[in-house]
Amino acid sequence: MFSLAVDYFLLVFFAACGVIQLAAAQSRIGGLLFVSHVGAGYVIGLGLLAGAFAWFVATGDQNIPGDLGGVEGAQQFGLFFAGAAGAVVATMVVASLAQIRTSGEAVEGTGVEALRNQTLLAVAMVRFRRWRGHDRR
């Protein structure tokens, strides 16, 4: 559909979104799920993973030599990390917006552990309120 590099980036991006949903569902990290239901997390994850590959295959034969416009090893490596990093950011944004009405508990732990019960947006709001409260005192 697009150039092969863009198609490959999109494949990795959507497949990585699916993989993050599966990992979050397995590890019960509710703040990374698009829907606050573990079973739905598995379904969405598998759907995104399978859908990304199905779409990529449907765009035609993408196996092209590097010297004829194909994506070579080093370029694949870079595009994979760009797609995966983009998927992490997109997951956090989408999960935060999708669960915006979900009231979480107080922030516990750090890093991904803090997203077990709350989305990134909720954690950021708690942090911001704490910082403002501390600032006023």
Partner: protein, 194 residues
């Protein structure tokens, strides 16, 4: 040794064309975008998996080992191929069944095998089960490369060994640089990315 390598290649590649169903499976497995992406995604998934923060941190170290091992193995092959060029089987032998496009880069060592086994070795260092699962994917990818006429068995074996040893070496280097890596993890944790 070269003769044995050629004979083994001819036996494996001789299976191509015998069964259309098997050829279709191998054409999928040899693709640049199927198993390599699945292998990398399987390793990437470890970043978020863990029942506890400690288990997740160990898995994240595994992904780090895998990514750096695969990257460095690729770099070593690029440098090595500046001075050594073994032609592909379909160039040196007659009657090779080719199920894929004909790459122009050197055959030895196999970059595909180095990538797959480097990823498997990196994950294996922190999680045996997932390391073995990724290893099976790497093995299938390596076998498909021979079946499809892309590599001699020796290319694949040397690529696999290079991937495993490179990952092991750079994992030890990363362990030596643990304070720096820990600092990077703390920074990522502040942004809830690790």
């Amino acid at each position: 040794m070269i003769d044995a390598d050629r004979q083994l290649f001819e036996w494996i590649n001789g299976l191509a064309g015998e069964s259309q169903a098997l050829d279709n499976v191998m054409t999928l497995l040899v693709s640049d975008f199927f198993l390599p992406v699945l292998i990398a995604l399987a390793a990437f998934s470890r970043w978020f998996v863990g029942r506890t923060a400690q288990e997740r941190l160990a898995n994240q170290w595994g992904f780090l080992y895998a990514a750096i091992g695969a990257g460095m193995a690729n770099l070593i092959i690029q440098i090595f191929n500046q001075s050594f060029h073994r032609p592909r089987p379909f160039i040196t032998l007659e009657d090779v069944t080719v199920l894929f496009y004909r790459p122009t880069d050197p055959s030895f060592p196999s970059n595909a095998a180095a990538f797959g086994f480097a990823m498997a070795a990196g994950v294996w260092l922190t999680n045996r089960r997932w390391g073995a699962i990724i290893g099976v994917g790497a093995l299938l990818f390596a076998f498909a490369r021979i079946y499809a006429g892309m590599h001699f068995p020796l290319d694949v074996i040397s690529g696999a060994l290079l991937g495993i040893l490179t990952t092991w070496f750079f994992a030890r280097m990363l362990d030596q640089a643990k304070p720096v890596v820990d600092w990077a993890f703390r920074l990522l944790r502040w942004f809830h990315l690790a």
